[in-house]
Symmetry: C2
Subunit: 396 residues, 2 copies
């Protein structure tokens, strides 16, 4: 009998979208390891390692550091579902799509939401947060550290942490795109709860959401007056599962846990500083290379994320057909954009395993070819030359 | 530099607990395939295949057939979160721990919950459901098809479906342990929403939850008067992601999706009837083998699940130390029990890839040795003989 669905055979792509990125092959290999039961001592030891590694990567001593068994969005929802009680005031610092998601989540869980906003492509001034809290205190300030939708990096995190503490607000930070790529200093910044994803700079396939929270956040979770609505995202229960108590909750995704362990292990083995430098350099090479080709970058030039580069689509180049040609002919994925930026920018990710010169050179050469094929004028060879220069390679 | 966390090296276990089971090696291999972006045409084609395969395995024509990006519990929560509005009446048919979970979930989402119950180890009489609905109509009847906690199979599903339709209630069925192991006839039974897991008879690692629902359930979801609270479990959004519309939601767990596709593909390739027969036979061999050894089985003998065998722990054998010896010395995991059954029964899973004679023989011989080591009297060799006989093997 011939099965109607053929053997799985996905093409090999260079994933330079907004995530997932190509995982380190060692991560995929780890995911193929023999499955263990969730209460097997050999598996609970692995859980403990994942917690330890998570603390190193989040730069935190928080005992409550463990992943949610869902994607990055699940981590954000676990935070909001567990911290927000109906009627609580939540201040969202919103300058992009993931700020919008915080607004949506907080409203769904019954919060009274205030927002401080900046145009997409700009960042939030800490003074906006301070002013807003002075006018209307909030229990929670939710903020996106790296706004994938615009390519912007929120600076002055320590200052924002200080403001939140002064106004007795919990600081909840989405570090989905930044963790493992640039400094995420949970303890030093006074982040009360940080959440991330696996499929960006952490370098694992999508499917888990590393989370960390401190005693202030834990206190807010366990001293709620109203019950947590979600069971799956109930941090009060999950923290007892991820502890020597081993409270039975869901069946942890074994293979994803293996992958996350390996990805975090590789980050620690590489060294955080080295990894940040690698992401910084690749982002610089790509941005300077694009500019050398004559392509404009999007957004506030002082606060660009190294791992997501937002480029203006040259005039006359169609968004969908352009990306399709990159994908079909060069095997390279770049990301479209959301809302007001759709059709105006492409977002190019250089994350985790892909944060290296060869990625930049493949992207620049392919872009040059594809943009020209649609009639755009781009300087020939200039991008590659500039990127190689930034990597200290000889011109000839 | 020596990393402080060593290379991943989990031991090889025979997983005969309540799940996860050992996945088919082809599933783990599929999970190591190159990662694709979620809007890559090569990936959306895979999503479509997963939906088609899901319909075949759920025996349903429901267009809305797709997995939730979380474990089996996430599927149950997505169902309840999306169907239940505050104040809605939910009737839970409860005779075990997963019935309790339905009660918990429905209450969390604001339902007025009624229950019809049976003692753990028994099943629900459809007349109980009919009586309860006659007294107090309900919007939803939630029922566990296979109660993993007790090893019981709920019979008369068609009758229950008929009763629910007569009383205009939506029938929501947890088929986490049964899907892929025994008939789950969603359309023929009139199940309005069925949810499952990947790590039991489907034979994939834990981490996704196949779901299917019909037009009645969809109508209830899209015509709600109050918004769905959870974003991650918002089926009204997720069904637009899992459709040609491709509404952007979370980043689908690529590798888990590959694993689920392969697991479903292997089920269809084997043939549902052949797979059910395989599970039936292995369950029979294990149960008869245990009885031949002099071990008592737990619960209603007329309604035992083939894939989960609940055995009474022989007197004098300690629950934890007994299971630990099985695990450490024989590499075999069996499951403890919950609540009133803890310390009284062990649950032995023979699911998916493990549903074959060699599993039974390894379990029976190991059990014989371990139970004896704790001083229990069990008949020597009798279990193996009986199991081999059921598989038609010659006695000598």
């Amino acid at each position: 009998m011939t099965p109607s669905v053929p053997d799985l055979n996905p093409p090999t792509r260079l994933l330079c979208g907004s995530g997932p990125t190509n995982p380190d092959p060692r991560v995929l290999r780890a995911m193929a390891a023999p499955v263990l039961g969730q209460f097997d001592p050999a598996f609970t030891a692995i859980m403990t390692e994942v917690m330890d590694l998570g603390r190193q990567v989040f730069r935190s001593r928080n005992p409550r550091t463990f992943p949610i068994s869902g994607t990055g969005r699940a981590g954000m929802e676990a935070a909001i579902a567990s911290l927000v009680e109906p009627g609580d005031r939540v201040l969202v610092a919103n300058c992009g799509r993931f700020g919008d998601l915080f607004v949506d989540l907080a409203k769904r869980y019954g919060a009274q939401v205030n927002q401080v906003t900046a145009e997409w492509g700009q960042i939030i001034d800490p003074a906006q947060i301070e002013d807003a809290l002075r006018r209307t205190p909030a229990k929670i300030v939710a903020l996106v550290h790296g706004e994938t939708s615009t390519g912007m990096l929120q600076p002055m995190m320590e200052e924002i942490g200080r403001i939140c503490r002064q106004h007795d607000a919990l600081l909840v930070v989405d570090a989905v795109v930044t963790l493992g790529g640039i400094p995420v200093n949970v303890d030093a910044w006074g982040v009360d709860l940080g959440s991330a994803g696996t499929q960006k700079c952490v370098g694992c396939p999508s499917g888990m959401a590393p989370l960390t929270y401190n005693a202030r956040a834990e206190q807010a979770i366990v001293s709620r007056k109203t019950p947590i609505i979600s069971n799956y995202f109930d941090l009060a229960q999950l923290q007892r599962y991820w502890s020597p108590e081993r409270l039975n909750h869901h069946t942890l995704p074994t293979s994803m846990t293996y992958g996350l362990r390996e990805a975090l292990r590789l980050i620690v083995e590489e060294g955080l500083e080295a990894r940040w430098a690698r992401h910084q350099r690749v982002g610089e090479a790509l941005k300077r290379g694009l500019e050398a080709m004559g392509i404009q970058l999007f957004g506030d030039s002082a606060h660009r994320l190294p791992m997501i580069t937002a480029m203006m689509i040259p005039e006359g180049v169609p968004d969908e057909a352009g990306r399709a040609r990159l994908l079909e002919e060069f095997g390279i994925e770049v990301a479209t954009a959301f809302g007001p930026l759709r059709g105006r920018i492409w977002r190019i990710g250089t994350m985790g395993y892909n944060a290296e010169l060869s990625t930049v050179l493949r992207v620049l050469t392919a872009l040059e070819s594809v943009l020209r094929s649609f009639g755009a004028r781009v300087a020939s060879g200039a991008g590659v030359e500039e990127a190689r220069r930034i990597y200290g390679r000889a011109a000839s």
